[in-house]
Symmetry: C2
Subunit: 376 residues, 2 copies
């Protein structure tokens, strides 16, 4: 198979760009002196995770127990399930640990810690639990100075569970778009998580791991004193949201959707393509950023950005391509029916999730099908 | 399996509501004296399409050739592929027809008609082509009075293809929210499509089928004179977007996402659940409607709407539940960790697409797994 023989829509990965992105992050983590644990929720694809491990990653982060099961089956033991544990899923986590998976689970409340402890005691299993720290108020976790932090640590220790460490994710880093702001939020993430670890240790609770990360903060941090590992996911593909945040050029975006022109509304300057929101996802993450890319930025079939043409609208299997600056009344001649284009996505995690398979494009134009899984 | 034994997140279908929705639409079409051809892109699920056919539907509409292949394999012959034909997919369409599938394809330009004609002549296949009519300027199609309508008909006839009919979809009906406005756009859809058929016939081009439809216009039309069939998709589930349009009550929404509370930020009045945008989709279709439901409306595990609690934010596998009117500072006691909730979705087509399987919930609480497919 090669680029020309692919049917559309298709999720293309530019393998050279992906390799560059993996090496860029791993080199940075090596220079900062921390382990790197990629978040595989972005791709859910064995070939890509293998490339991340081969480059030096140590263990993985997952967002579902299905990801843990799939990647454990493909040979990865060291796995953090980075979503607060639902008590009803403890049986599934136990089964993984009994098979030899070094699965770590997460809690951020006494109620959750007690549920884990009760289940663990009942099944004679000392779960390794990481306590989630809230460093920026964006989602889950316990603030570093909150008394409940120690209460959770004690509740786990008291029931014989192992407090393996603390973890934080500065998700608010996606809201910034200057280097200085990213440096500040990265330091806030680092300092908050390190402080939480210090408080636990001072209270007599074990806390070996200090795990932080998001793609923007991982790329902005000036030092990581006290941190033992970093997690990041979307860096492997990058996307237009991250481009607006300021951490990648559009020429570093490894994921795109190949599509075909199927019609026009010439008077409006529209070309209609066979990729809609089913192929791009409904993600409009650039809507409130400094540049709104609609449903994606249009490139030639070979991947060259075509000025300011965007996918400005999308239905399920129809996309509308138009020029931002002024309507292109010559669009039917510029992109005749059958023209193939690539669309760079707003959000690589969301766009990838719409596709059962990635088409991995090598520099010689050949493509290889890399399956990805979905569901729970 | 029953409701209590399901792991979360899960896509639940209330089978009684679905059956009610199917019967409501089919009775209406019978009363209006037209055939009904459901759009199966909403569910891509054999059990649901079987129920639509059993209720009286004649043939189906698809948004991808993969849907055509899957449903032809399950025994449905009469299929319209309602997306403008990409010339590169004609081989795939030909293969379906050669296997006995009565596949109809769509064109809205002379360039597309000529590509179909050339391919058809080359392979000695008289494709049945429907000409897409633009009745409201929202997407694809040729305006009823446009000269290109006759040119497309002639181009197809000249090359030996069969012009089977005309089709229109008043997608702009989603932008309205009063019955009067829906009645007007329904009449505009009907009149425009009938007029296009009349012009083709007057020019000597065959045009048996006059196919229109969208869920809002199908439910609002006062008469369908000159129309032979109606297409609609989302009516089988309904959703919050359609509720804002005014065509269904929330108690008619058959699809919901079952989720579990995994944490809280009590000071903010947040509960965190294990369904995020991966389970709900990124669809924010109610954002610009009269009521913005965030990522969905919260119900009890048994399906009763819980006042004004919404999923107000979503990350990949985390949802934030909060009360719209004022922060619920008692939320950790109201929805303790482990509480199960159902979330009604903005857009049933988009939410369904995130799930490999529907869990079909019967009135006795038992559930049956109904697989759905995805991809192209």
């Amino acid at each position: 198979m090669n680029l020309k023989s692919l049917s559309t829509p298709a999720a293309l990965i530019d393998v050279a760009r992906m390799t560059h992105n993996i090496e860029r992050m791993q080199h940075r983590m090596n220079a900062l002196g921390v382990r790197f644990r990629p978040h595989v929720k972005t791709t859910k694809c064995a070939q890509i995770v293998d490339a991340q491990i081969a480059a030096g990653a140590q263990g993985i982060t997952v967002s579902t127990l299905k990801e843990a099961e799939q990647f454990f089956a493909s040979g990865i033991r060291d796995i953090v399930y980075a979503v607060g544990m639902a008590p009803g899923k403890l049986g599934q986590a136990l089964a993984l640990r009994r098979q030899g998976c070094d699965l770590k689970i997460v809690a951020d409340s006494v109620a959750c810690a007690e549920a884990i402890g009760a289940f663990g005691r009942e099944h004679d299993e000392a779960f390794e639990v990481w306590i989630e720290i809230d460093v920026d108020g964006h989602r889950s976790g316990i603030a570093p100075e909150d008394d409940r932090l120690i209460a959770v640590g004690n509740a786990l220790a008291r029931s014989g569970m192992r407090v393996g460490g603390v973890m934080a994710h500065a998700g608010s880093s996606y809201d910034y778009d200057t280097h200085d702001a990213l440096v500040r939020i990265a330091e806030q993430e680092r300092a908050g998580c390190v402080r939480a670890a210090q408080r636990l240790r001072a209270a007599g609770v074990s806390c070996d791991v200090v795990s932080i990360g998001s793609t923007p903060t991982a790329l902005a941090a000036t030092h990581l004193d006290g941190v033992t590992e970093v997690r990041a996911g979307v860096y492997v593909m990058f996307d237009l949201v991250m481009h607006n945040v300021g951490v990648n050029d559009t020429a570093e975006i490894a994921l795109s959707v190949l599509t075909t022109v199927i019609g026009h509304q010439e008077e409006k300057g529209w070309a209609i393509v066979d990729a809609g929101w089913m192929a791009m996802s409904r993600d409009r993450g650039t809507q409130r950023q400094k540049r709104d890319f609609g449903y994606g930025l249009v490139c030639t079939e070979n991947g060259d950005v075509l000025g300011d043409y965007l996918m400005s609208g999308a239905n399920q299997e129809h996309g509308v391509i138009s020029r931002t600056s002024e309507a292109d009344l010559d669009i039917a001649r510029r992109f005749p029916i059958g023209t193939r284009l690539r669309i760079l996505p707003n959000h690589a995690c969301a766009t990838g999730a719409q596709h059962p398979v990635y088409q991995a494009l090598a520099e010689d134009g050949s493509v290889d099908a890399w399956p990805r899984f979905y569901g729970w």
